[in-house]
Amino acid sequence: MTTSLAEGSATLVNDFSIEVATVNGSGSQTANNVLMRTIFQMGVPVSGKNLFPSNIAGLPTWFQIRASAKGYVARKHDIDLMICMNPETAKEDVAKLKPGAICIFDEPLKLDSLRTDLIWYPVPFQKLVTASCPEPKLHKLIKNMIYVGVAAQLLGLDMAEAKSAITKQLKGKAKAAELNHVAAQAGYDWAAANMPEQHRLKIVRDDKTRGQIMLDGNSACALGAIFAGVTVVGWYPITPASTVVEYLIDYADELRKDPVTGRPTVAIVQMEDELASAGVILAAGWAGARSMTSTAGPGISLMSEFIGLGYFVEAPAVFVNVQRTGPSTGLPTRTQQGDIELCAKASHGDTHHVCLYPANMEECFRFTYDAFDLAERLQTPIFLMTDLDLGMQNWASKPFTFPGKPFDRGKVLGEKELAELKDWGRYKDLDGDAICARTLPGTPGGKGAYFTRGTGHNEYAYYSEKPDDWTKLVDRLRRKLETAKSLVPRPVVDGEDRRGILAFGSSDPAVFEARDLLRAAGKETSYLRLRAFPFTAEVDAWLEAREVVYVVEQNRDGQMTALLRDFYPQHAMRFRKVLHYDGTALNAQTLVDQISGYEK
């Protein structure tokens, strides 16, 4: 195993983890991203996890960076280099390190007296910042860039890349970028002159990230929506979902202005709450717009009555759910796959909704794009299920490809089609796929108007309490889910082994790594990555061929396991729950430990 230094003093090249402990609101986010980006720009696969509190300023925050030549981008449990900038957590931060780890710390904290089995690098940050920055009120911010310089020198990072990362990070702010260049260089120079060299952790230039982009999942979703031609957005701010719409606003500003009039081709309205957001997008979808919202679990709870209405009257809309840790306010800045059952069955009565589970940046982009086609094709709410880990952390990715095909606007009858049709009924299933042709308000010609109602209705949308009309209607809605199976993304399958791992969404990187670790321990596995609900035939066939299925999910109750059990009771005996729900991103070792535990 290639983990911490404790197991030997060989040099770990492009394969170790860094943790930076700072105070929320101190501007450390920029510095941490620069550190991460510098490694990325040197061609080394890298991932970053910002563990931030639900607070604007003052509480502790940690940033974990993992460099991995093998491309393991899940969170790593053990830390090889610790940078202690927060006096409040410094003792704890140091206590959790394994022997042999390196620790850079703010000199006055005098941490080196705490343990003798670590490699200590005290740095006089205040002195360095005073010398490098003339403006005292910027010292707090600039101090962070000094540790970037120190770490760069220690790890062998290329300062030219660090500077270009700073420029990128502070795009458009030339003066700030310059100040930060100076600070990083000061840290670098001081380290070169004063710190003993180390040979344990090194970054060496590679080419594994060439041509890649780096962004967070919320940006990817926003781009997906922009390129899907979203026209109406109703939303209400909530962490970790807010930036989906905030980025969308920025992108729309650049990309969605009518070239002739300069006016926007998308309406984005911050509503008074999530109930109103859901109502706005369902009505907009009903009236023919491509509509969406972005929210997290508490918002979905509020939207639930409307979601049932949307399902029942068959109105299209896209709901992005960036899941966080619940119930209640829970841990609003931590990650979880906690709304799997909630969204698959949101609202009262018999309801089922199409849910998409992207696992990486390309899928965040593409599935958001696809969600609009699905919503209009199936005339129903579609849920795009990401989480804080995907949505708010930065990830490397292949660049997105342009989805060069016509939008699927679904079955919409215009004036001409209506004139030709003899006996149109809004809820008449003419094609046998459980999807009925709709019309849009405003269609001229005097035909096609209908009355949309949340009450029981017949094929002509007239009010009906007849038992037959009701069962016919809800059975057709159920059949629509069958049709959905032919449209949603198929699962991704790898390996043939009878020992199977089933996972979805942000668990993917940890599963990728865990399978290697299990293989090294003599345990072969096969892997099915679910990408959508309803489950398609491939899932059934794959489950059928397994002896045991480890269902990996990031919640306490095994929510996906429950759904699978519901649809495949015949396979239920072979399901083993592998769970992670402490709010942190999943790491491979947790999976290995739990799976090995089952096989003892």
Binding site: F227, G234, D258, P264, A289, F402, T443, A449, T452, Y463
Partner: protein
């Protein structure tokens, strides 16, 4: 076409008869105030010559909210969920700004469960004719008090309301609504004029219509009964409404009438009945409402008017065409745009 027989029904500017504006048969209680309002919506839409295909009929849940099914069969209806028709109107307006939205709600639907949405609908000035059919009770759930029930009003089985009511009109004025009116389902002439003016208004028009519930709240002690409303209805003015396409031909009587024009050219004329009511003076309007309340009167008419107030389409200035039907070429940036963004993220 044969020449018009003497018995041919009257037609409006689109050549349509009033019959072309009706809906399905009402299933409300015979004598329900809501049905009288429906009759005036039909009349006003016909007289205005609204194009059915360009109209939506939106509602929440309640007896009142059922009524969109009873008018304008040629239009698109959306009977949604309790208290949330405001969001439906907002979404519809954003998706297609060329539609005329008529919303029917109840006092329970608007002033209790839907209060939050109503307030923000007004604040955003979403284009909608918002008809609040106000009977002081929850009709559909069999007669519980609503938030507009007056102190001292009693329920059928004797309960007395002690909690002060919310007045939709003063609330709407306070929130900056550009069209605030009150009427009574038993005063068809005035209601008709108000509805037509509201249909000409480009922003959010709030119309509180006292509409007795004959089944649960029509005993004489109820302030929202037919008897009470008839006895205490004090119109602030005689209303005249002249539609934009008739402005040229019709001469508005001079004298003591005051006129306010809508952006489309339509004109309302106010002939003062009480004092010298000025419907464009917010403070005076508030004062008059409070004074009449103190005297236990219902002040009716157009209580406040500001036809020029910016609407949601001013705050959200999307292209003129309906967003709903913009072609892909106008809503999808090209591959070079994606390529440029990808380069920036490298």
């Amino acid at each position: 076409m044969t020449t018009a027989a003497p018995s041919a029904p009257a037609t409006n500017r689109l050549g349509l008869t009033k019959q072309d504006y009706v809906g399905s048969k009402s299933t409300l209680c015979p004598g329900c105030g809501h049905d009288a309002i429906t009759a005036q919506i039909i009349a006003a839409a016909w007289e205005m010559g609204l194009e059915g295909s360009k109209v939506t009929k939106l509602s929440g849940i309640g007896c009142s909210s059922k009524s969109p099914a009873y008018f304008l069969n040629q239009s698109w209806g959306f009977n949604s969920v309790h208290g949330r028709a405001a969001a439906i109107a907002t979404g519809t307006a954003l998706a297609n700004k060329t539609l005329k939205n008529i919303l029917v709600s109840g006092d329970g639907d608007s002033m209790s469960i839907g209060m939050g949405q109503l307030v923000h609908l007004i604040r955003r000035n979403v284009p909608v004719v918002y008809i609040l059919e106000d009977n002081g009770v929850y009709g559909l759930t069999k007669g519980q008090f609503s938030a507009t029930a007056d102190v001292g009003s009693t329920l059928k089985h004797g309960d007395v309301n002690e909690i002060p009511p919310i007045d939709p009109c003063s609330l709407a004025i306070e929130l900056g609504c550009g069209f605030v009116a009150r009427s009574f389902s038993g005063n068809p002439k005035q209601l008709n004029a108000i509805l037509k003016a509201a249909m000409a208004h480009t922003g959010c028009a709030i119309i509180d219509v006292i509409s007795p519930c004959v089944t649960f709240n029509n005993h004489d002690s109820s302030t929202k009964s037919y008897k009470n409303a008839k006895d205490h209805d004090y119109p602030v003015h005689d209303l005249g409404f002249v539609q934009y396409n008739e402005v040229e031909e019709v001469e508005i009587r001079a004298g003591d009438a005051r006129e306010v024009a809508f952006p489309d050219g339509s004109v309302v004329s106010f002939r003062a009945v009480k004092d010298d009511y000025d419907p464009t003076n917010k403070l005076a309007a508030m004062q008059a409402i409070h004074a009449s309340k103190a005297k236990q009167e219902f002040l009716t008419g157009i209580l406040y008017l500001d036809p020029q107030a910016p609407t949601i389409h001013h705050f959200c200035p999307t292209v003129d065409e309906p967003l709903a039907t913009l072609p892909q070429a106008r809503t999808q940036p090209g591959p070079e745009a994606l390529e440029r963004i990808m380069q920036g993220l490298m």
